[in-house]
């Protein structure tokens, strides 16, 4: 591990998650240190999104522990976890379709009671000018890319210490993908925000990452720095072939 001996901000230890009797995570260990961008790549159905939701206690891990900032959050209710400074842009975006873009952003800032709403609104509008044009529009009428921007902007509105992003590039045009990865790099550098990112778009995600993990079938099979994984022949064969764009 390249970081110092400081305890990780997020530590996932031996986590097993089930849907009914079907096991989705078979004992996962992950570390995310303060200030890092950690990427997890893996195929569809590997359990990446399940891990993201398990961190938030929906569903809760049946075995193992999840600690955040030294505190065990494995059995904590989802809404309390949100109040600890973790935000998530989840799989499928999940914007509130019958609320305006503005209200969706207000929802994002509701953990700190809209304390610095105006300031943060200006900031996310500068990052995503498209949203600024559509503030009063119902989120359900936005295009997929715009909804993705909104989901990320909404997560940023709470000023999280740890940002979880579930496939932020899914279904987006390459130019928008690039823009979104630039945003991730920027919030990480400028504000020191820690980012844990799940991606199928392995090339971009690994280039961005301080460290990375590969998940296969509910298990971590490989880990290392982003560069190491990028040049690993197995990763290349499985996730990067024809992927340079």
């Amino acid at each position: 591990m390249t970081m110092t001996e400081k305890a990780p901000l997020l530590a996932v230890r031996g986590v097993k998650t089930y849907y009914g009797n079907i096991i989705a995570l078979k004992g996962v260990d992950i570390d995310v240190h303060e200030g890092e961008i950690v990427t997890m790549i893996g195929a569809n159905g590997a359990g990446k999104s399940t891990l993201m939701m398990t961190i938030f206690g929906k569903p809760q891990a049946r075995e193992g522990t999840i600690t955040y900032d030294g505190r065990d959050i494995t059995r904590m209710p989802t809404h309390e976890i949100a109040h600890l400074g973790i935000a998530q842009s989840p799989e499928g975006r999940r914007v509130f379709p019958r609320m305006s873009v503005f209200e969706n952003l207000q929802m994002g800032a509701s953990v700190n009671n809209l304390a610095h709403f105006d300031e943060d609104l200006e900031k996310v509008c500068a990052i995503f000018p498209r949203l600024k044009e559509r503030l009063q529009q119902r989120a359900g009428t936005l295009s997929g890319g715009e909804q993705q921007m909104l989901a990320i902007a909404r997560a940023l509105m709470s000023r999280p210490r740890l940002l979880l992003l579930d496939e932020p590039s899914l279904g987006l045009a390459p130019i928008v993908v690039r823009q979104i990865f630039d945003v991730i790099r920027e919030v990480n550098r400028k504000e020191g925000m820690t980012v844990f990112l799940v991606e199928q778009n392995a090339y971009h995600a690994l280039k961005l990452a301080t460290r990375a993990y590969v998940m296969v079938n509910g298990l971590i099979t490989m880990s290392g720095s982003g560069k190491e994984l990028l040049s690993d022949p197995q990763v290349k064969a499985a996730y990067l072939e024809g992927g340079h764009h």
Partner: protein, 307 residues
């Protein structure tokens, strides 16, 4: 023309009461997708609480104009509080544990609660009609034609005014406050609301409380208007208000008010022009016809959203 105007006034008054109850049905359905069959009985309880308060205050303060006004005000406020507590408790003991269970479970539990409340009041208050002394019998004559006086009573003015004011406050809360935003968020995506730090269970409880508070307004108005209440009064107004919610589009707040108004107007006009015995048939027939052509109700949300 005179009959028409008079029935319009009567219909709007009745519609206001239905609309207030219908909001409770529609909000709960919107947020947890369940028809709260006990809501009509919550309305009945609120009328009883209002009756008890009214009798207590007038026993102490007399029946002068000021005392009656005070008694109604106290009855309204106390009824809103007590009824909210009832509704909160019902949600807590009868529905919350069943969330995430099969869909029929909370529905059956709600019917059970409805029977429980009705019988509780029958035992506690007796099976007979409970009247209050006649109040606010004065009317304002609007115009007269061929000996037919079109009049609006003080009661009707009171009911329409109080309903309009409370609907205004309610609309403001739902549309403009963080609480209302949290409610709408839970209605659209509970999981996401939780991810954003919203306490979903508490938001649902607040929804039950708000629905009950509005039902209590309706109950107090109902008591003022008819001057009598009985333990079974939760059933028919409850079913009518539920019909109103479905007619307007269940889940839609403006729909509940519109549906309530329509049911109230259909009933009074049918009674005036055709047959008073068939007024319920008329109201329910209109519901059936609307649902055939607009299954989501008049102002209901379309099922499909652009994704």
């Amino acid at each position: 023309m005179e009959v028409f105007v008079q029935q319009l006034i009567n219909g709007v008054t009745l519609g206001a009461v239905y609309g207030l109850i219908a909001i409770g049905y529609t909000m709960v359905f919107g947020i947890i997708g369940m028809v709260n069959f006990a809501h009509g009985d919550v309305f009945m309880i609120s009328a009883f609480v209002a009756l008890i308060c009214f009798m207590a205050v007038t026993a102490l303060a007399g029946m002068t104009g000021g005392a009656v006004f005070l008694a109604l005000l106290v009855a309204l406020i106390v009824s809103m509080i007590v009824t909210s507590l009832f509704s909160w408790t019902i949600e807590r003991v009868a529905y919350r544990k069943l969330r995430g269970s099969f869909r029929l479970a909370p529905l059956i539990s709600a019917i059970g609660m409805s029977i429980l409340l009705m019988n509780f009041v029958q035992v506690a208050q007796g099976a007979r009609n409970k009247p209050i002394p006649p109040i606010m019998r004065d009317t304002i004559s609007l115009f007269e034609k061929d000996g037919f006086v079109v009049a609006i009573s003080y009661k009707q003015i009171l009911i329409i005014l109080v309903t309009a004011i409370l609907l205004g406050i309610f609309w403001y809360v739902v549309q403009k406050t963080p609480l209302g935003r949290a409610q709408r968020a839970c209605e659209q995506d509970q999981k996401m609301a939780a991810l954003l730090g919203i306490n979903v269970d508490r938001t649902i409880a607040v929804t039950f409380i708000m629905g009950a508070a509005l039902a209590a307004v309706a109950g107090t108005m109902f008591l003022t208007y008819y001057g009598v209440v009985v333990f079974s009064d939760g059933f028919v107004p409850g079913v009518k208000a539920f019909t109103a919610a479905v007619l307007g589009g269940i889940g839609s707040l403006p729909g509940a008010v519109l549906g309530g108004m329509l049911i109230g107007l259909i009933e009074t006009f049918w009674s005036a022009y055709f047959s008073i015995d068939y007024k319920d048939v008329a109201a329910f027939s209109i519901l059936a016809i609307v649902l055939i052509f607009m299954p989501q109700g008049l102002l209901g949300k379309p099922e499909v959203e652009k994704v």
